[in-house]
Amino acid sequence: MKVGVIVFPGSNCDRDMHHVLTDVFNLNAQFFWHEKNLPHDIDAVVLPGGFSYGDRLRAGVIAAHSPIISDVKKLAEKGIPILGVCNGFQILVESGLLPGVLLKNESLNFMCEWTNLIVNNNQTPFTNKLELNQKIPIPIANGEGRYFVDDESLSELKKNNQIVFSYENKVNGSISQIAGVCNSDGNVVGMMPHPERAAEKAINQIDHKPSSLIFESLIETVGMKN
């Protein structure tokens, strides 16, 4: 199974994500520079965290116009699992692949801390091995992580079961404490917290298994298809 990790200028969680995919979950992960094309036979795509283009103008907005995004859109339409983490989520939102926007945190500061996520949708390619309402101890690290949509879109999201993760507690002022959403087909998932920082025991002394299940869900999804 081949997973593409997209690298934008300023991505900085690309190597972490690659390490977890390859060294922890034995997947064949490859880096793709944002000006390159994605192969047609790729099984999944990850947009990692970081500060693409130094967060200039607005987090994710310039990277959303990178050449590789048109390939990502084509793959998304084909139903290929696509995960955006942190800045990757911001890019997916800015490119229109996911609904909503990510605003500055309520504290107006960058926030790096551990929090608990609640699984609200366990039907996506990245959550199918998790239980509904399962808790995931996981770190966030962002300055613009406050998810927002208008009331109408929010009820759409709820109706379509597009809220994938929410924070257990009030963290940053996100509407409905939303931490991650998916597109209406469910194959494109974006989340602000960092599963790649929580899937190994050495760096997650609370419990690394729930975050591991995010990666194992992907293996299950793609494995079943192949």
Partner: protein, 717 residues
């Protein structure tokens, strides 16, 4: 720009003609205290710099330590005090940028940042709060964007930094030994300038930093751009992997002047460069300005001409500029041209080795006038004192600060900020523990013992994680060195550090000296800062919260040493008394014994006992475990001394009762002084003396003060 008499004589003796304006500008930058270390260089030679782990190569700006299995760790420390006192956001951010490029120059990837921040009294001084808030934001903005975790440091407030700021940043790098840049150059190699464009920002920065801060000179402060820095890091590491780099140096203080002359001097080569080829931010920049601009995010690279196309390809990928600005010559001269016109032509070693000076020293008069103890006795109940100390900005949790730093990126952070030493996992299964410590309050009262104490405290902190110290970096910050009394305090500090480094056999692998740290009210207190790196062969001792019935032991002796303590200064507003002294053999014995207890899995956790004394160390453990304790302090010392003295070489051990006998027999066998002082239980922190309760405080009250005070001061202030 002016030269002192001995510098004028040095020029006349060595150069048989009138110097050009460009040459004068270059020399003024390179011979500034900041670049030439003219006051300190002779004395820094006393520090031990070699050891079994140390790798020495020509022209490294960072220390390199072998951590086995073909891997190395690099480390460097820098400060950006003057710029941060004027423009805290940009000053602190560019301080981070500079030290990272020093790590990069060795060919290693930066993997962690640490910062030591010092400001005036934030409780009553709005300007100090402004400096603090913005320096933290600057560090966060820069480090977070680069994806280099800031995983530790310290923050301290003291009146002596009023209207001023000390911003010290240490960076750690990691890489393969085989990929280290072995700085060398061949005749006709190309000299490249890679990265950001050269502008007017930071012109004359090193001279600005080599004088007392009398007026704010904003143009001397550099402008940060972390996005460019991130691209440079990735581009340079790709060039390294493609074997395109023969030698490399960061452009920092003194800009091109410094980088060119020092590179030529260290490699024994000549460099001819044309300022017309430097890529500029402003087209009307004058040649002299180009030579001394300290614009950030620039690297000097020497490469074989055959590698130029590969380097260009890599730089194009990252959309960063690469200019061929010169070539390597045999003549050992620094030759600066503007097209066909020669602007400067001087021997590189003449430029790089500024004339050193001998400074006078004399013991400061204030030292003999310091009172021995406070005149009035405190009537405040001990529990109120403890509660107040827990909310002192110097003791309270720094969570408000480190939550703004991405301390997880890179997925190496095993022990996160907020504990003793921070720990990073390395690719060979070992772990690296790092801590930086300073203590100007102790150093003011006793510069020698204070400096040794900072060193010992940093060692203790890495020992608490199970690491053996393998190297240290020092950053020595003082006022005007032309004042003999200040120079005396500098000499005391460096001699003390040298003595202890030799005794422990921990080499100094890098450092920096920063003088002229003066405010309108006078010089800062002596502020040496020591960073210690420790190596853990197996797994680190993870912080584990204490639980009911765990026993508490203290290794090391609590002495009558309240001088410079947080208790004297924050509670009594008193400066004086006897500062803690490190007993070298006790220090070594305790380190060794604690490490053997950790390796035998006999202790649950080990906590350093330092600022605020035993009372604070124990309280921190109670807050961590959300559990009370009962401690018996019966000794010959008074309660206030037992509780708040900041004696060194002490460790608080938390252990399961079942291991108590084994622990005691190891400590006795190693001839360590120790005592079993109590257990964890209930919801109150209770200290007793001769069976009488002397202090009782609810843990939740302690926790509230400890965790929330700093944030409240910032929010409400």
């Amino acid at each position: 720009m002016s030269f002192q008499e001995h510098e004028k004589q040095h020029i006349e003796k060595n150069v048989n003609r009138k110097l050009t304006d460009t040459e004068l500008q270059i020399l003024a930058a390179e011979w500034s205290e900041h670049c030439s270390y003219k006051s300190s260089k002779k004395h820094l030679r006393m520090l031990p710099t070699t050891g079994p782990n140390v790798i020495v190569e020509k022209g490294y700006d960072s220390g390199v330590l072998d951590v086995g299995d073909g891997y190395v760790v690099t480390v460097h420390i820098e400060s950006h005090n003057h710029p941060s006192a004027v423009e805290p956001f940009g000053g602190a951010a560019t301080g981070v940028g500079g030290v990272i490029r020093d790590i990069l120059s060795a060919g290693t990837r930066p993997i962690a940042l640490f910062d030591g921040l010092r400001f005036g009294n934030i409780e009553n001084d709005a300007h100090a709060r402004w400096l603090f808030k913005n320096a933290v934001s600057g560090i966060a903005d820069y480090g977070n964007c680069l994806g280099i975790p800031t995983i530790g440091g310290e923050v301290e407030f003291d009146e002596c930094y009023k209207n001023y700021a000390l911003v010290d940043v240490a960076a750690v790098g990691f890489g393969k030994k085989s990929k280290l840049i072995k700085n060398h150059a061949n005749v006709n190699d190309l000299v490249l300038l890679i990265g950001g464009s050269t502008g007017r920002d930071g012109v004359g920065g090193s001279q600005f930093a080599s004088d007392s801060l009398e007026e704010e000179n904003r143009s001397a402060v550099q402008i940060p751009d972390p996005f460019i820095e991130k691209l440079i890091i990735e581009a340079i590491l790709e060039c390294r992997d493609a074997n395109c780099i023969n030698a490399m140096k960061d452009l920092g203080g003194g800009g091109l002047s410094c980088a060119i002359s020092e590179t030529a001097e260290s490699l024994g080569i000549g460099i001819e460069l044309d300022v017309k080829n430097v890529h500029l931010r402003e087209s009307d920049l004058l040649p002299d300005e180009i030579m001394i601009s300290e614009s950030q995010e620039r690297m000097l690279v020497i490469s074989d001409p055959n590698n130029l196309s590969k380097i260009n390809e890599i730089c194009d990928k990252f959309r960063i500029q690469c200019s061929v600005i010169g070539t390597v010559k045999e003549d050992k001269m620094m030759h600066v041209k503007n097209g066909d016109e020669t602007l400067a032509l001087l021997p590189a070693d003449f430029v790089a080795r500024g004339p050193l000076v001998d400074r006078e020293k004399s013991k400061p008069e204030y030292l003999s006038k310091l009172p021995s103890f406070p005149s009035s006795k405190s009537e405040i109940p001990l529990s109120d004192i403890l509660l107040k100390l827990l909310s002192s900005p110097n003791i309270a949790s720094k969570h408000w600060v480190f939550r703004q730093y991405d301390h997880e990126v890179g997925i190496r952070t095993v022990i996160k900020p907020g504990f003793d030493g921070s720990v990073l996992r390395l690719d060979n299964g070992k772990s690296l523990s790092v801590k930086i410590d300073g203590n100007p309050k102790h150093c003011y009262i006793d510069p020698r013992q204070g400096a040794i104490g900072c060193f010992e405290e940093a060692c203790r902190n890495v020992v608490c994680t199970g690491a053996t110290p393998i190297g240290m970096v020092d950053h020595l910050q003082f006022g005007n060195p032309e004042d003999p009394e200040i120079f005396w305090t500098f000499m005391e500090s460096i001699e003390g550090i040298t003595d202890f480094a030799k005794f422990l056999d921990v080499p100094c692998v890098g450092g920096k000296v920063s003088f002229y740290n003066e405010t309108s009210e006078g010089p800062i207190k002596p502020t040496p800062l020591i960073g210690v790196l420790g190596l853990i062969e197996k797994s680190p001792l993870l912080p584990t919260p204490p639980t009911n019935d765990d026993v508490i032991l203290v290794v090391g002796e609590t002495k009558d040493e309240l001088g410079g303590s947080e208790y004297y200064e924050y509670i009594h507003n008193f400066i004086g008394g006897v500062a803690p002294k490190v007993d070298f053999s006790e220090s070594k014995k305790n380190m060794k014994s604690v490490l053997s207890l950790i390796s035998k899995n006999l202790v649950k956790s080990v906590h350093d006992c330092s600022k605020g004394g035993l009372a604070i160390g124990i309280s921190e453990l109670c807050i961590f475990g959300k559990i009370g304790c009962k401690i018996d302090l019966s000794t010959s010392l008074s309660s206030e001394k037992m509780l708040f003295s900041e004696s060194h070489s002490r460790y608080i051990l938390v252990a399961n009762k079942n291991n108590l006998d084994d622990i005691k027999s190891i400590l006795s066998g190693d001839e360590c002084s120790f005592s079993e002082i109590g257990i964890f239980s209930g919801d109150q922190i209770i200290f007793e003396s001769a069976s009488n309760s002397i202090l009782e405080l609810r843990v939740d009250k302690a926790e509230n003060n400890y965790l929330n005070s700093l944030g409240k001061i910032i929010q409400n202030g």
